[in-house]
């Protein structure tokens, strides 16, 4: 049976015990909670990984993942690399430009205050982070917003950073090349938006250089403080539709990382269906400009 599975490039269907082990590993590594029975979804998303590695069962796959310094017995691939591949398969890359526009509008309103504060402190740089940036639509939307505000145009250093655990998504983000799918919420403003900010190419729409150049991407796990190294003093962090998949424990860890990274007066934006209430005491919600935004607790 094992040989047959390997030759067919598909592993055996995931057992209940293997699902429990895999769900535990995913929670430990990425903070993501798999709710309910997700065996068929996981098998659909992961079986090709086992096929590539020549592994017949999910137990073999887990043995490999849990021994990150080891070498996969049936391929030349290191397990550490496989953890990244797993992250790419289980994270959701669903995002698009100007998603939840009201939050961008609120930040646009706060930018004046941010600038005033920075000028008073003699600072000349602004940093904004998209945590869980996926394929980059959010951080580029922020770049567009910052540019259009014209508040930080002259003699200002603007640093926009996208962080994600999925290397494949980051590769796409760096290319800044998008299909229509990434613009699906621009009701009625579609053409003007594309024309203003993108060049049309054969493969899709590429963001103009001015909006792309202040943006940097880094590979990192939001639960790991190392992912935020060198980013202290950020004025705003956007982390939307990430917490919905995570356990309270993981949310608390990530909130602590955001807390160290954000300046005292900074703003944390989470998805409109998410909340940090009763999950951390490091941030307090404030109702501003018609949305809920989180500020560091004093």
């Amino acid at each position: 049976m094992e040989m047959e599975n390997r030759r067919n490039g598909r592993p055996k269907f995931i057992s209940e015990e293997e699902f429990g082990r895999l769900a535990g590993f995913i929670h430990k590594e990425f903070g993501i909670v798999l709710k309910g029975d997700r065996k068929l979804s996981l098998h659909t998303r992961l079986s090709h990984r086992l096929g590539l590695l020549g592994l017949a069962t999910y137990s073999d796959y887990l043995d490999m993942l849990e021994n990150p310094r080891g070498l996969c017995p049936r391929s030349d691939q290191f397990a550490a690399g496989e953890t990244n591949a797993l992250a790419a398969e289980i994270t959701n890359n669903e995002t698009f430009f100007q998603r939840e526009k009201s939050q961008f509008e609120a930040l646009a309103f706060f930018l004046n205050d941010i600038k005033r504060r920075k000028v008073a402190k003699g600072e000349d740089s602004i940093s904004i982070i998209s945590a869980g940036c996926s394929t980059g639509e959010e951080i580029y939307s922020l770049s567009i917003l910052l540019w259009d505000s014209a508040l930080f145009a002259w003699n200002w250093e603007t640093r926009l950073t996208g962080i994600d655990v999925d290397k494949g998504a980051l590769k796409k983000a760096k290319s800044a090349l998008y299909s229509n799918n990434s613009f699906r919420l621009l009701n009625g403003e579609h053409d003007g938006f594309l024309e203003k900010y993108f060049h049309q190419e054969d493969e899709g729409f590429r963001l103009k250089r001015a909006y792309k150049s202040p943006v940097r991407f880094r590979h990192g796990n939001l639960m790991d403080p190392g992912a935020f190294e060198g980013l202290a003093g950020a004025s705003a962090i956007f982390c939307r539709n990430v917490f919905i998949y995570m356990s309270d424990l993981a949310i608390a860890k990530i909130a602590a990382n955001f807390h160290s990274c954000l300046e005292d007066e900074g703003y944390l934006f989470v998805g409109s269906t998410e909340t940090l209430i009763q999950k951390t005491d490091l941030f307090v919600p404030e109702c501003r400009e018609g949305i809920v935004v989180y500020r560091k607790a004093r």
Binding site: N8, R10, T44, R45, H48, G54, N92, S179, E203
Partner: protein, 375 residues
């Protein structure tokens, strides 16, 4: 002692907790009369709140004091006493709480019903049924709502029968359906099924049926939902996610090809994906062509997941046509599929993909067996 009561009414949480801890070190016959006074003190809301916290902390020691307060001339005190008896959860208070269901004040009746629900004692079920009838007669629905909620908490066959009767009264219907959903069981499904085709109530009924069936680990016969497929497709467009989810789950059980596009669309949704894939798997061959068409839509999200799913279904031949797809994840599936077939076309696909720009696709094509097994 009076200092302790001062601390009990402190605004500061820490001071109040310290006051409660210190008070409870005294004998019960010393502190309970003081707590009774504090609970009746209309002038000091902080002291009242502190007294309630102290009662909760005292637990069963406070039982007799609270039972006494259920007969207080002050209706507010009676409400507090009923609430606290529910919080403490002592079965010793059930008879008195049942009597309080006849209290002249409707708020006391509501609090007593809620407390009985929290305590969860089955002998309260018939009294709660009586409370619902009484509320119906007196045209005051709130005690009935609280009683239905309590019945859902207590559960059991008797509670179910009462709730099933409530469903027939329009004013109670929504609450009763919600209670039936919480109580669960096949009888509850049967009761909710009566409303599945009612325009106004079908969303609630469907949600109840699907949630109960899921908890039971039980699945309806496909025919049950198959006849409802047009309605389910309509509900799948609901702006309410819970309704959409219930419709999709029902469609995944229906084994009706009319649901195939909703199932394919839902593969992109994190929370619906498992149901969608199971539904597609049940449709078997009937889902293959719609899946192929969906993979051909280049703008569609999760195309690679759909291709992997086709492969899991064993549709290797169908995947060969994607050997030149722009998405390497889909070309990878074409390579795996070609490795499972022994046709000339498969060999051509393997030859093409063994020179693919993507390392993993090349590896899959090159590692394919030289003498592939027949499908």
């Amino acid at each position: 002692m009076s200092d302790l009561l001062n601390e009990l009414g402190a605004c500061d949480w820490g001071a109040r907790q310290a006051g409660i801890a210190s008070l409870l070190t005294e004998p019960a016959e010393v502190y309970l009369p003081r707590l009774e006074e504090a609970l009746a003190d209309h002038a000091d809301a902080n002291l009242r709140n502190g007294a309630m916290e102290a009662y909760r902390s005292a637990g069963r020691k406070a039982l007799s004091s609270l039972i006494k307060l259920l007969k207080s001339p002050d209706h507010e005190v009676r409400v507090f006493a009923a609430n606290l008896l529910g919080d403490i959860g002592e079965k010793g208070a059930v008879s008195q709480l049942i009597r309080a269901l006849k209290d002249p004040d409707p708020n006391v009746r509501v609090a007593s019903a809620e407390a009985l629900g929290k305590i969860g004692e089955r002998k309260a079920v018939h009294a709660l049924g009586w409370a619902i009838d009484d509320a119906w007669r007196s045209d005051k629905p709130w005690p009935a709502m609280a009683a239905m909620d309590a019945l859902a908490e207590i559960g059991g066959q008797d509670a179910l029968e009462i709730l099933t009767k409530c469903v027939k009264k329009k004013v109670y219907l929504e609450m009763a359906l919600d209670a039936l959903e919480r109580i669960g069981g096949k009888e509850a499904i049967k009761a909710a099924s009566e409303f599945i085709e009612d325009k106004e109530l079908r969303e609630l009924a469907l949600k109840a049926i699907v949630n109960i069936a899921e908890r039971l680990g039980d699945r309806f016969m496909p025919e049950y939902f198959m006849r409802l497929a047009p309605m389910l497709l309509e509900l799948y467009d609901s702006p309410k996610f819970e309704v959409r989810k219930a419709a999709l789950v029902a469609l995944s059980w229906a084994e009706d090809v009319r649901g195939v596009f909703a199932l394919i669309d839902s593969v992109t949704h994190e929370e619906l994906q498992e149901y969608a894939l199971k539904g597609l798997l049940k449709l078997g061959k009937k889902s293959v062509q719609p899946l192929i068409d969906a993979i051909k839509e280049k703008e569609r999200a999760e195309r690679a997941t759909l291709a992997r799913f086709l492969s899991i279904m064993g549709e290797y031949e169908a995947l060969l046509q994607f050997a030149e797809d722009p998405d390497p994840a889909i070309r990878l599936e074409a390579a795996f599929s070609a490795g499972k077939l022994s046709s000339k076309r498969a060999a051509k696909v393997l030859a093409l993909l063994s020179k693919d720009a993507e390392r993993e696709v090349r590896a899959a094509a090159r590692k394919a067996p030289s003498q592939p097994a027949k499908k």
